[in-house]
Amino acid sequence: MMQDPVETPAGSTPAEQPRQRYVLEDTGFDEVPQKYRKFYRKWGGPGDVLAPNEVLCPVCKVVIRSTRELRPGDRVYCMPCMSRLVVVRAADGTLEARVAY
């Protein structure tokens, strides 16, 4: 996983904590202009565990990455398929993205 937490607060619940920040690196994803590439990576299939700053685009199955830990209610963009998405908590406790048309 190409990410480096630069701030990792401990000892409180996620809702109370300041968000972890991430320095994103280019993962070789080449479907958007170079400047935006670090915000996306290829999905490795159902066994691919997403980091706290990542969520899967339900439309095109690309992993969307943010410079900060994602939480329910956050809005993210999938540039490869031009979707606006809202992060929600799924029934299994993981984060997932829903399309906001």
Binding site: P33, V59, R75, Y77, P80, C81, V99
Partner: protein, 264 residues
């Protein structure tokens, strides 16, 4: 060359205002820089140094049939996308569709070229001979919707149904195809992501402000569903796709339909 690109003060692309995001991702400039990233250095849709693998006569014949139907699907998408530019409701949609036309033209060309690589002397005649009847009917209906200036139904047929089908089938086929065909398909899939996303998002926005069109699109879906699933079944047979995988491919199309609230 390119001017400055939009930047959010935070440096995170997800902080861009929505209007800037939409302007950016629909632009010709965005498209150009995106495709440059993965098509630069390719010839006829693949890197020139990808080696051909030997194919048995039976495998070659199945591949030719699959490619003939890919050509037909891309021809339908090329004709559909170019016709849709005239009836697109705004500048962003028109500009985006102009990039889709370029993509579809490229896809048709590289699949034709692949047929020639495989020894097909007259790809046009071969496409006509091997074309799936359901896909031909789908193409005819799509072009009727475009000619009838029915923006929502035509976008639904083309960018949601047809593109989702192609996206799912190409992804599946790329996993088992010979190295050259697999690379051609992988690069086509990168384009298809934009087309599928444009269709779903455009329709989603239209449905949000005009929910009454949902019933009409539901009708279009009913009309086209059997053609989609017949085409999928034919393609799956040609590619030797297992029954479970065929159902998974069908679900890829249905997921998009469900998200739009057009499920039966």
């Amino acid at each position: 060359m390119a001017g400055p690109r939009p930047v959010a003060p935070s440096g995170d692309v997800h902080d861009l205002p929505p209007e800037l995001f939409y302007e950016e991702v629909h632009s010709f400039e965005f498209w150009f820089q995106a495709v440059e990233g993965y098509l630069s250095g390719t010839t006829w849709g693949h890197r020139p140094d990808v080696a051909e693998a030997p194919l048995s006569d039976a495998d070659r014949d199945r591949l030719v049939t699959a490619l003939c139907n890919y050509c037909l699907g891309e021809m339908a998408a090329l004709e559909g996308a170019s016709g849709l530019i005239a009836i697109a409701p705004n500048r962003l949609a028109k500009v985006f569709l102009s990039t889709q036309v370029a993509d579809e033209g490229r896809h048709l060309e590289v699949f034709h070229h692949r047929l020639r690589d495989l020894g097909v002397g007259d790809p046009e005649a071969e496409v006509a001979r091997r074309a799936s009847r359901s896909l031909l009917l789908f193409r005819r209906r799509l072009l009727e919707l475009v000619a009838g200036k029915d923006w929502e139904a035509a976008i639904f047929a083309q960018n949601v149904i047809l593109e989702s089908l192609e996206f799912a089938v190409f992804r599946n086929h790329a996993q088992t195809a010979d190295p050259v065909t697999a690379e051609v398909l992988r690069l086509v899939i990168k384009d298809e992501r934009r087309h599928v996303g444009f269709g779903e998002n455009e329709l989603g926005r239209r449905l949000a402000v005009a929910p009454h069109i949902r019933a009409r699109l539901g009708q279009t879906r009913k009309e086209l569903d059997h053609l989609v699933f017949d085409t999928l079944a034919e393609t799956a047979r040609v590619l030797g796709v297992a029954r479970d995988d065929e159902e998974r491919l069908g679900r890829a199309y249905l997921e998009s339909v469900e998200r739009l609230g057009l499920g039966v």
